[in-house]
């Protein structure tokens, strides 16, 4: 059984379609990076996964449960940390831990204390007096101390500085992977999840435009620098992005080995540039098409 199964889910707010037939699966124990620009629909989908929003169409199962049918049972097994999540400012750290604990059937108070120690959180301090980093870490304690089977993180490190973000993501995901939990990590900053993600899905304009293992993605999407007049020889549906590079053009393409083979068959040499996931993500969500200015010969299919 998959930890998350999403099939053809759609959601609209009035006339605006936020999710348009989104489908994917997350296998248990995997770390799934869910990527998209701001406003792409990530948080909407996460709210559906937790039963906080109703879908218009499609089906959705989380840990074998339909979030709309059994939201409380599901939330008991899921740990969730929202972006910019704030908590009751008047409570002290120890008070909010004690307040939240009884709502979870598998709350581990010793584990909570262990996390509080590891994260160096002062128990007697009011939440409104915590720094941003401490707030995020406290949110994590409250999301993890009931030993969830699935952890949903909605850009939790948004307000942290780059060093803290890096450390936070590395430590957190490594820890969760060690504990065997499934991690659903939503972000718009790919480099953060690149080292730890088992699978990546890119959401753009309400649709999943690509889902693959990071290594597969890196092998499949490359930048080819070729003479500008040769660019139209590359099938347009394989080009994600095209930018002028002096007299040449830099094409970011999918199915890169195939394209390289096609070009080689025509005797066209190309410089191949490996891309990191950030560049790949950018090409998928904001890629520009290249408009040729000079006529070019036909490319024979391989």
């Amino acid at each position: 059984m998959s930890a998350i199964e999403v099939h053809a889910v759609t959601k609209s707010f009035r006339k605006s379609r936020v999710l348009d037939g989104v489908s994917f699966r997350v296998e248990p124990g995997k770390t799934f990076a869910f990527l998209g620009r701001n406003g792409a629909g990530k948080t909407t989908l996460i709210k559906m996964l937790l039963g906080l929003l109703k879908r218009d169409d499609g089906s959705l199962k989380v840990l074998g449960l339909d979030p709309e049918v059994a939201p409380y049972e599901l939330r008991d097994r899921v740990g969730y940390l929202a972006e910019d999540q704030t908590m009751y400012g008047w409570m002290r750290v120890d008070e909010i831990v004690r307040f939240i604990a009884p709502f979870y059937s598998r709350w581990d108070h010793d584990l909570a204390l262990k996390y509080l120690r590891e994260f160096e959180l002062p128990l007697a301090t009011k939440i409104k007096h915590l720094s941003k980093g401490q707030n995020v870490r406290l949110g994590l304690v409250l999301a993890l101390a009931h030993r969830p089977e699935l952890v949903i993180l909605d850009d939790p490190a948004l307000g942290l500085d780059p060093i803290m973000r890096k450390q936070f993501n590395r430590d957190l995901v490594t820890h969760l992977q060690g504990a065997g939990a499934t991690v659903f990590y939503s972000s718009h900053l790919l480099y953060e999840v690149e080292p730890v993600a088992d699978e990546v899905a890119i959401l753009h304009r309400g649709r999943i435009v690509r889902q693959a293992h990071p290594e597969t993605l890196r092998a499949d999407v490359k930048q080819l620098v070729i003479e500008a007049r040769m660019a139209p020889l590359v099938p347009r549906d394989l080009i994600l992005d095209a930018r002028p590079d002096g007299a040449d053009v830099a094409l970011t393409v999918t199915s890169a080995p195939r394209v390289i083979g096609m070009l080689a068959a025509e005797g066209i040499t190309s410089r191949v540039v490996d891309l990191n996931l950030d560049d790949i993500f950018e090409a998928y969500v904001s890629g520009r098409q290249f408009e040729p200015t000079t006529p070019t010969p036909e490319l024979a299919p391989v």
Partner: protein, 507 residues
């Protein structure tokens, strides 16, 4: 620079315009009901509704201009603008004044319009049928315009005192609590000190001079029902100058203090690891059940305000101690009146505050994503908050009213038992109604001021309608309950559905 000022005026007006219309609507509707729908009674009715509504609402507008920017996390934006904070504060204050004045003006103009339309325009005549003539110190006792200006002056006075006292508080409820406490404290002082000096004739006139500039004291010169000795400093111009000076001073205090606060105080959480090691040895055990956990939270949120209200009731009763003996007044009736006066305000604020913490920016994502059953959470929050408020507010009146004869010696205990019970029942139903209306309005609007306007408006209209119906029905107490329960249940149902389904104008 001018463009920024214009933008700020536009922003403030956009935030306040619906309040103006809502407040004018409430004033006019209440006036129509109080006036019995008869054109000849509308002027007097507006005086009465204005006097009972506008100063009260002005407290909520003051809460809003004192703390809404900070509670809405928008103060940082204002601080970063290349525009002096004092100018922004001045704009906020001016728009708030316009909001109050415009609402009264719209209601009054509507009445004048009806009069003109019906061909029975009364000029500037005052209607004394519903309201006793105000003190003559301002020379406006026979002018409707003058009496309207006095109502407005009273409201503006409350606005300035509350805003100056509560400015820069972290949220509107705190600002309102600080403002209300300051106002109550000033009046307590103004009443207690002359008492302590046994109404020394050398002291009292001066004290009244102070009282005229106290919150709302402008209404009757601070000496209700008593003429003032004609001393040199009690001439019309000097007293007016004094009142204006004090209130200008309050405006300056508000304007000067506005925004002079760091957005987030120095983090006490930034303590060293060495200090932490000693603090993290032991974590108290979790609360025993979800119900106890929710109850604990609601107690912490609701009890301080209720305790404040109970304290105010005790203070007011003790202040009235001397008058009870002097006037040979009925202790129980006096206590009930004070109880109802304080509890109406406290229940309104408690109703607003019952769900306020749960709707702070970013907090709904926290509790909604937990396995917290929403129906139970709502029930505990609503009933818990209501019970805590009602019980805490009732203890002091019950003790003081029940033991009044012993406590106050010569005090009379003359009210019929049936009348006392009717009054108590009315006050309790009023408390439940206001709390429910405020809770439902807050869950829907998620902002204190619209909540207060909605709650006051709905309770006003419903209680006036009930007040019209009950005397004509047999068994008044049963009828009162019978008529009050449906709107209360409707309010609870509306609040629950809005809470469960996350309905709200501001998400």
């Amino acid at each position: 620079m001018f463009a920024i000022a214009r933008s700020l005026v536009w922003k403030e007006w956009r935030e306040q315009r619906w309040k103006t219309i809502a407040l004018a609507g409430i004033l006019f509707l209440a006036t129509a009901i109080v006036g019995g729908g008869e054109l000849a009674h509308l002027r007097g009715a507006l005086q009465w509704t204005g006097l009972t509504t506008l100063p009260f609402v002005s407290l909520f507008i003051a809460m809003s201009i004192a703390a809404s920017e900070r509670s809405g996390n928008t103060l940082g934006v204002l601080q970063s603008l290349p525009f002096p904070l004092w100018c922004m504060a001045t704009i906020k204050l001016l728009i708030a004044v316009i909001t109050l004045a415009a609402s009264l003006f719209i209601a009054a103009a509507t009445i004048v319009g009806f009069e003109l339309f019906a061909g029975s325009f009364l000029g500037d005549q005052l209607d004394h049928r519903l309201l006793a003539p105000t003190s003559s110190i301002w020379g406006v006792q026979d002018s409707w315009t003058g009496s309207m200006l006095l109502v407005l002056g009273c409201a503006l006075s409350m606005l300035l005192w509350c805003a100056a006292a509560g400015v820069n508080q972290s949220d509107e409820i705190r600002a309102g609590a600080v403002g209300f406490l300051s106002i109550a404290g000033i009046w307590a002082l103004l009443i207690l000190v002359p008492m302590a000096f046994d109404y020394d004739p050398h002291l009292v006139p001066g004290w009244r001079w102070l009282a005229v500039a106290a919150p709302g004291g402008v209404l009757n010169g601070g000496a209700p029902g008593q003429s003032l000795p004609k001393n040199w400093w009690q001439t019309y111009d000097l007293r007016l100058t004094w009142v204006v000076t004090v209130h200008l001073g309050l405006a300056i205090v508000y304007v000067w203090r506005f925004g002079r606060v760091s957005i987030k105080g120095r983090s006490q959480g930034d303590v060293t690891a060495a200090n932490l090691s000693t603090k993290l040895d032991w974590l108290p055990p979790p609360r025993r059940s979800p119900l106890k956990s929710m109850l604990w939270k609601q107690c912490r949120e609701s009890f301080p305000l209720a305790a404040l209200g109970a304290g105010l009731i005790v203070i007011f009763v003790l202040i009235a101690f001397r008058e009870i003996r002097n006037l040979n007044a009925d202790v129980k009736l006096l206590v009930i009146q004070l109880w109802s006066f304080v509890s109406v305000f406290i229940c309104l604020v408690a109703g607003v505050g019952a769900f306020m913490e749960d709707y702070q920016p970013g907090v709904p994502a926290f509790w909604r994503s937990r396995p917290i059953p929403l129906r139970r959470y709502f029930t505990v929050k609503y009933l818990g908050g209501l019970t805590i408020t009602l019980v805490t507010l009732s203890i002091a009146p019950l003790v003081l009213g029940g033991m009044g004869t012993y406590l106050f010696g010569t005090a009379r205990d003359a009210a019929p038992v049936q009348q006392t019970y009717s009054m108590i029942l009315s006050v309790v139903l009023m408390q439940i109604g206001i709390y429910t209306a405020a809770s439902a309005s807050f869950v829907l609007s998620r902002r204190p001021l619209p909540t207060a306007l909605l709650a006051i408006g709905s309770v006003w209209l419903i209680s006036l309608a009930i007040g019209e119906l009950v005397p004509s029905l047999p068994k008044a107490e049963s009828s009162l309950i019978f008529l009050s329960v449906p709107p209360i249940l409707a309010g609870i149902s509306l609040a629950y559905h809005a809470f469960r389904n996350d309905w709200g104008w501001r998400k």
